[in-house]
């Protein structure tokens, strides 16, 4: 049987992949997707800890994380649509002005 440590290592790997995506990529949509990868990595560790401690609280906080992720995706994508209308670009380097 895989142990808690195995799940935590897997969760850490996924989180690092998400963090690398945020830092390396130059596309707003891919950056939002990388944030989703990081949220899922944290969810995995919550469920693994909940299983190790024999309580359902880990799964309940995953439920809340998912609803917050849904809200974040909706607002983030609305902002991306607004930015794309102004500049016809998804490159974050083209949004360096505070006002235009």
């Amino acid at each position: 049987m895989p142990r808690l440590g195995d799940y935590l290592v897997l969760s850490g790997l996924l989180f690092v992949i998400g963090a690398a995506g945020v830092m390396v990529r130059r596309n707003l949509i891919t950056i939002l997707l990388s944030i989703e990868i990081m949220l899922n990595a944290v969810n995995l560790s919550f469920v693994a800890f909940g299983r190790a401690l024999g309580s359902a609280d880990g799964q309940i906080i995953v439920f809340f994380v998912m609803t917050v992720a849904a809200a974040e995706a909706a607002v983030g994508l609305a902002i991306v649509i607004g930015l794309f209308r102004h500049r016809e670009s998804l490159n974050p380097d083209s949004f360096t002005n505070l006002k235009w």
Binding site: R3, L10, M23, L44, I81
Partner: protein, 175 residues
Amino acid sequence: MLLFYVFGAAAVIASLLVIAQRNPIYSVLLLIASFGALSGLYILLEAPFVAVIQIIIYAGAIMVLFLFVVMLLNAPREETTEDVPTWAARTSRAGVARFGVALSIALGLELVWALTKHGGESGAFAGGSVASVSAIGRLLFTRYAFPFEVTSVLILIAMVGAVVLARRDPAKEGH
């Protein structure tokens, strides 16, 4: 144990491909595959409720929203480093990317080192104690009733905010 490695490898490889793709549509589809693998891991962790809402909410709702926006924007491919006009901008961008990769690798090594050092010998899962859907529902509406209601307000605010942000300004458009 074999299933853990299969699902874990699938999740890691799909996530790596997500950030390696130039075309956002492939990224979104690969992320759905990664979420499927994570859902299998939740089944292995005896969390069927989380596994099901992972598929329904994440793969079914959030990723479809992403896919919808990608197709709505007719999303351009990300410009490669060669497309950047000036030499200075190109080198600074390559430097930032290299710095980001180095930071991520350092973070990953540190995490794996810390976890394998301290989580290796202990932490075998206790038997039994499956959190059933009814137990989770009872907890949600008793001990976690207040956060649950706050979540509904949050969703309402996000919905109104998304509509306001993405709406075309009728005064500027003129029709």
